[in-house]
């Protein structure tokens, strides 16, 4: 029993570190984005300010039970995803609750928050929320297909779906990373990753111009605060997942931060360089090049 309390303690520590790292990344990349666009940009600690501001608003409204629970689902999804992952390779404590399930659990658990949030947004009755969800789900289905092919290729390559074992198999040399040993799978997955991160060219879900910020349109005050917490944690959890699958995992926090920074940077780089797709365009795009790469990955690994 004592063991479990220690685990919970480390889990909270993980969440704390990841939350702050996530907020830092947010601030940093908004700054970078602004500088690329020749603007001054926000202060780097602005994300913290925003969260605190949201929790202290005096005017707080809600639209119904599901609306209230939407952000709870969302954040549960984010934290759960993080805790089901082995964060630091070789560290029992920072493996958190990854003993409860393997790669498949992690991949499917992502949708727990997404669907819960979508339901909450739905109850607000705001059409923009529903439009955002419709776009988001459409896009998700499309990038999941190449992602699945990539994951299957990795599963076949290492003969396991255990994330720890996948990381273990990549130890020893940079050349052991899946990124190098299985480049087509990695390519398919990294392109899907762009969709998963929801940055340009795949940010039509939040589309600030036509459906201001999409699904979360109606959320305010603490509810929005909870969503913002998730927006810091969830991407980092995804980064850790991709790091584990493709880039050999991390044996300490420093390595983790360096690797995830560059993985995040990949999506930011593409986002800054490319304009936005419409939904039907992005759906078709994911079902073209990334899909073909995924198919090639499978064919190469199988034959």
């Amino acid at each position: 029993m004592e063991n479990i309390w220690i685990k919970i303690g480390y889990a909270l520590l993980t969440i704390f570190i990841v939350l702050n790292y996530g907020l830092l990344l947010q601030g940093l990349f908004r700054k970078i984005g602004a500088r690329v666009g020749r603007r001054h940009g926000i202060r780097i600690w602005q994300p913290w300010v925003d969260i605190i501001k949201n929790y202290t608003f005096r005017s707080r409204i809600y639209h119904g039970v599901m609306y209230y629970l939407g952000p709870v689902f969302r954040l549960t999804g984010g934290i759960g995803l993080l805790l089901f992952l082995p964060v630091i390779y070789g560290s029992e404590m920072f493996s958190n609750f990854s003993f409860t399930g393997d790669l498949m659990l992690v991949l499917y658990f992502q949708f727990f928050g997404v669907l819960g949030m979508a339901l909450g947004a739905g109850e607000s009755g705001h059409p923009y929320s529903a439009i955002g969800v419709s776009r988001g789900l459409s896009q998700v289905t499309a990038f999941e297909l190449p992602l699945t092919l990539g994951v299957l290729a990795i599963g076949l390559q290492y003969h396991t779906l255990n994330i720890n074992e996948i990381v273990a198999a990549q130890q020893g040399s940079i050349l052991n990373w899946t990124f190098f040993t299985n480049p087509f799978a990695a390519a398919a997955m990294l392109l899907s990753f762009l969709g998963a991160m929801g940055r340009s060219p795949f940010d039509v879900v939040l589309a600030p111009q036509e459906i201001p910020i999409g699904p979360p349109t109606e959320f305010n005050s603490s509810l929005l605060g909870v969503l913002q917490l998730n927006r810091a944690i969830f991407p980092v959890a995804k980064l850790i997942l991709f790091m584990n699958l493709l880039f050999g995992g991390a044996t300490n926090w420093g390595e983790l931060i360096i690797k995830t920074f560059f993985i995040y940077f990949w999506s930011v780089f593409v986002g800054i360089a490319f304009p936005r797709f419409r939904v039907d365009q992005s759906v078709r795009w994911f079902l073209s090049i990334p899909l073909i790469l995924g198919v090639i990955a499978i064919i190469l690994i199988k034959f």
């Binding site: 689902f73 399930g101 009755g125 290729a153 039907d280």
Partner: protein, 1042 residues
């Protein structure tokens, strides 16, 4: 025993007496006629019984006391007694039915009838060829007489054409007889049989003339326009006499002449008979006049029996059972249908909807249709079964195929007609009047269907094994249909509960899983029935029939029992489906796919039985020949039920338009019958190959494509129940894929999904059914915001979609997890990726379902809608409890299934430590996932609750809109065409290509029918030409002219 000569004496004597003493006897002529016919029936039936039970031996009567050739001899043997009974009973009840009409027409009408029946009696008994000719002439004239009994232009013209046709036939027959006498010097059949007549040179031509004349009397295609015109023009009561009495007698003549027929004659009979069966049914597709339609059907059925006679060499000792059961079915069904047609007196089958004024007639109508099509427990079921088995056994595959295709065509028009009668708006008109004299014959023939069915069950070689009790229990509900719903519902639940209790000790493995789905699932869905008020006439017998069939599948040990149960289930579910308001065409397409599937299954079983001494299901494993073909036939047959892509088009309409509690029954339970069939098939036949290609590999692709397309189509539906229906197609695709994997994990996933699909689909269909029950619409965009009005239903749907989507921590995830492991193990990645893709597409429709109904904007007209009725919610919450148990304790479901699979797939099982499952690739602990998720959820929730404690709830339109304030829910609820961009991107995949394909098949066959039936021009000369041409062509083909 009364000597058979009294048959002739009484019928002829009374006919003469009535003729002579006509006027004074006018008032009692009817009674006298009936009494005479009853006497004749008594004689023939008592001979039949005596001969059957062996108390009597065949008797030969010599007229005038001389021996042939100086007199005529009449034979009363077993076959004669059987046919005489048919003819005389038809005469008796036919006269009774026509009683009032005949009384109006006067004494002569009775005379004609008596003469007709007398003529047929002699035709059957006589052993003298010339005598046969004479009495055929007498019957023809009498028939022409009854045709024009009700003289108007149509009957007179039909009667004239009839006389022309039979006249030419008589001429040919006479020619034949003359030649025959010339060559043999005798006209006595028994004499000729004793000697080798083939020794006579030139006899062939004589025989050909005799035999072809008799065949033409049977109205073979295409020389049968005259016969069809007769059927069309006469009233139903008279059509009945021609179709049953005359046709039976003529059939017997063919049979009687067989001993003198040359061997080639059997091939001629087969070709003409089955050809007629096929083409009559094809041409009937375009037919709309009820009597003419029945005429086509009669001609077809007689053709089938003729064909069976032609194939008699191949049927061994089963010939008698096959021919008799087919004939009896035709006889009872056609009599009943013609009679009903006589009562309704309509000229278009669409007008038959008036039959709904009288439930008994509707019941009888459906009874006769099912009888005619060879559904169990009626005699033709066994007849067709044995026929197909024997044909397969003797390698007659061409005829086997032709008979099955033609039977399917027959199903098309009969079920279309039945659908019209049950569903179309009834035309205005006078109320139906049915006299007692019409009820009696209909009632007796209706009862006779069951009695003969019972005997046929016991006569067929394996039929006595069949457990008829569940079916009898179901049919018993017809008798108590007057009781209110809650009594019948309680009885039904008690019956099913008891049956499960009774079966339980003997159940294990797959049987256990599927009996639980069928029976426990059935009870759960029946609970919703308490929400109905009134009597719900017809629901319980048919619902229980479906369940009887389903459980029969599980209990079946032999292929016959399996097929029996399959057909019972199909029949029951057809009636359940057609209960929906707009279900007419959907029920038809369901029935046709089911029939087609059933015939494939029948063909598969028949091929499997070749060269085997038993018919237990295990013969599938040991089939020495054609194993891949058997596998394909059976798999396609079962896939019509699982609605795999290409065979799925019946499902959405059938499930969506069904009643609230019928949708979960047919969707969550009935579809599993197909899964069960596939399991039985694959477990016994294993992996089959076409060349080097594994059939299971093909199935895996079909499963994966079905899953993707089913889910994709679900995402584009506006109708909530249709969405769920398409989703079933998708999930059944996963199951098919899992079974095709043919490994421990694949099967574990397939069966686990089969169980969870039952749970969540029953849950969702009941919940959505409850919504539709209250809102009276199924269009989702007309709904919205119902979470506040129907919170309990919302929770059901929420849990239902989470399970469906396979999102952890609920039990649906188990399926996904096992699938991935199974896919990596089997290395079928592309199909596996498609399955996973399908799983993600499921999110689209899941979200759409819950969002557009329960979230978004509440419509003004729904502000006062109530929660769904208690009895619709109750089963949902029972299911919710089961779902939660399976979610928290996944091994309670998966471990037993795994154990069950070990004997078949010892390798690759999951290892369980408590709730911790490990495969060779990964691991999963459902309980801990649940703990972690619940803990985080609660913490976050409490945090939010604490931070947000002062929040207040705002009204519906208090939302952030730039510079305007929405006020209409209709324009604010984003629901219609919800995934428009997605449709734009890959909507082309969901184009109804398959529907179009089957539409073309249907249109094509109708167009061919339309084209061919133009040969029936209605012109007597053309008909005569056709008869002559037919005779010449048959001669040339059979005797080597070509």
């Amino acid at each position: 025993m009364v000597t058979p000569v009294y048959l002739v004496v009484s019928l002829l004597g009374i006919a003469f007496a009535l003729g002579i003493l006509g006027k004074p006897l006018r008032k009692v002529a009817g009674v006298i006629t009936l009494a005479t016919m009853a006497f004749a029936s008594y004689i023939s039936v008592s001979w039949f019984m005596g001969l059957w039970f062996g108390e009597q031996s065949a008797a030969m009567v010599f007229t005038a006391g001389f021996r042939p050739p100086f007199s005529i001899n009449l034979l009363m043997g077993f076959e004669e007694a059987f046919f005489l009974s048919l003819v005389n009973l038809a005469g008796l009840f036919g006269t009774l039915f026509l009683y009032r009409t005949l009384m109006k027409s006067g004494v002569n009408a009775f005379v004609i009838l008596l003469i007709l029946i007398m003529g047929l009696n002699v035709i059957i008994m006589t052993r003298d060829l010339f005598n046969l000719f004479v009495f055929m002439e007498i019957s023809s004239i009498a028939t022409a007489g009854i045709i024009i009994l009700n003289p108007h232009q149509k009957t007179i013209s039909a009667g004239f054409k009839y006389m022309l046709a039979t006249g030419i036939v008589a001429g040919i027959l006479l020619l034949g007889i003359i030649f025959f006498y010339h060559f043999t010097g005798t006209l006595n059949l028994d004499d000729t049989i004793r000697v080798n007549i083939e020794a006579w040179k030139g006899i062939t031509v004589a025989l050909f003339f005799i035999l072809i004349a008799v065949i033409v009397e049977l109205k073979p295609f295409p020389a049968n326009g005259w016969g069809l015109d007769v059927y069309e023009s006469v009233p139903g009561g008279i059509g009945m006499l021609i179709s049953t009495a005359s046709a039976s007698a003529m059939l017997y003549v063919v049979y009687k002449l067989l001993p003198i027929a040359p061997p080639v004659f059997f091939q001629i009979l087969t070709t003409i008979g089955i050809g007629t069966f096929f083409f009559s049914n094809l041409l009937a597709l375009k037919q709309t006049h009820p009597n003419r339609l029945l005429g086509y059907s009669s001609v077809g059925q007689i053709g089938l029996i003729t064909g069976v006679i032609g194939l008699s060499h191949f049927l061994g000792n089963q010939f008698g059972l096959i021919a008799a059961s087919l004939l009896i079915s035709h006889y009872l069904a056609k009599a009943g249908l013609f009679w009903i047609s006589g009562i309704l007196n309509k000229t278009h089958i669409r007008e038959w909807s008036v039959i709904r004024q009288n439930r008994l007639l509707l019941f009888l109508f459906s009874l006769f249709v099912f009888l005619l099509l060879g559904f169990p427990p009626f005699p033709a079921f066994y007849g067709k079964w044995e026929l197909i088995m024997q044909l397969a056994g003797s390698g007659q595959f061409f005829w086997l195929g032709a008979i099955l295709v033609a039977s399917l065509l027959e199903g098309v028009y009969l079920f279309r007609w039945l659908g019209y009668a049950m569903k179309l708006e009834a035309p205005a008109g006078e109320p139906l009047r049915v006299g007692w004299n019409q009820y009696i014959p209909l009632g007796i023939f209706g009862l006779a269907t069951f009695v003969t069915g019972y005997y046929a069950t016991h006569l067929s070689s394996y039929g006595s094994l069949i457990n008829l009790i569940p079916l009898a229990f179901a049919l018993g509900f017809f008798l108590i249909d007057f009781l209110p719903v809650y009594i019948k519902n309680t009885l039904a639940i008690a019956g099913m509960g008891f049956y499960f209790y009774y079966l339980y000790p003997d159940l294990n493995g797959f049987d256990m899983v599927f009996s639980a789905i069928f029976l426990v699932g059935g009870i759960l869905t029946l609970l919703a029935g308490y929400a109905y008020k009134g009597k719900r006439i017809g629901f319980y017998p048919t619902a229980l029939m479906m369940f009887a069939g389903l459980i029969g599948l599980v209990e079946a040990k032999t292929t016959l029992e399996f097929f029996f149960a399959w057909e019972v289930m199909t029949a029951g579910s057809y009636f359940l489906i057609i209960r929906g308001k707009k279900s007419m065409e959907h029920a038809l397409s369901y029935m046709l796919f089911s029939l087609g599937g059933a015939y494939l299954i029948l063909a598969g079983f028949s091929l499997a039985s070749i060269g085997q001494s038993t018919i237990v299901l295990d013969i599938l494993a040991t089939a020495p020949l054609y194993a891949p073909l058997i596998f394909i036939l059976l798999a396609i047959g079962f896939m019509t039920k699982t609605a795999s892509i290409g065979l799925h088009i019946w499902l959405p309409g059938a499930h969506a338009e069904a009643e609230t509690d019928v949708s979960p029954m047919v969707s969550s339970i009935l579809l599993k019958a197909g899964v069960f069939g596939l399991i039985i098939l694959i477990i016994r036949m294993g992996e089959q190959h076409l060349g080097s290609l594994s059939i299971l590999y093909i199935l895996s692709w079909i499963g994966a494509i079905t899953a993707v397309l089913g889910n994709l189509m679900a995402a584009f539906q506006e109708d909530a129940k249709r969405l769920l229906a398409y989703s079933s197609i998708g999930v059944l695709g996963y199951i098919l894929f899992g079974l095709a994997l043919f490994s421990h994990l694949g099967w574990l996933a397939a069966i686990a999904i089969a169980v969870t699909h039952f749970l969540f689909k029953a849950l969702l269909f009941l919940a959505i059914g409850g919504v539709v029950w209250r809102l009276k619409t199924k269009e989702m965009y007309r709904m919205g915001g119902l979470i506040t009005r129907m919170p309990f239903t919302f929770i059901s749907v929420l849990i239902g979609i989470i399970v469906l989507a396979g999102i952890p921590p609920l039990s649906g995830f188990a399926g996904k997890w096992i699938f991935t492991n199974a896919v990596i193990e089997k290395e079928w990645f592309f199909q596996g990726a498609l399955i996973s893709f399908a799983g993600i597409i499921a999110f689209l429709y899941c979200f759409r379902l819950i969002h557009t109904i329960f979230l978004g904007q509440l419509k003004d007209e729904h502000r006062k809608v109530n929660e769904a009725p208690f009895w619709i919610l109750a089963p949902q919450y029972i299911i919710l409890i089961i779902v939660m148990v399976f979610s928290v304790l996944p091994n309670s479901l998966l471990h037993p299934i795994g154990e069950m699979l070990k004997p078949y797939f010892p390798d690759g099982a999951l290892t369980w430590q408590g709730q911790y499952a490990t495969s060779i690739f990964g691991y999963w602990n459902g309980t801990w996932v649940m703990y972690v998720v619940v803990a985080i959820f609660l913490l976050v929730f409490l945090w939010l609750w604490f931070m947000n404690r002062k929040a207040y709830r705002v009204k519906q339109f208090n939302i952030v809109f730039a510079a305007e304030r929405p006020f209409r829910p209709e324009t604010t609820h984003f629901a219609y065409n919800f995934f428009a961009p997605y449709k734009k991107a890959i909507g082309f995949l969901a184009e109804p290509g398959v529907t179009r394909f089957w539409g073309h098949v249907s249109e094509g066959s109708h167009a061919i029918a339309e084209l061919i039936r133009r040969i029936y021009s209605g012109n007597g000369q053309v008909y005569l030409f056709q008869i002559m041409a037919f005779i010449v062509v048959v001669y040339l083909i059979s005797f080597g002219g070509f």
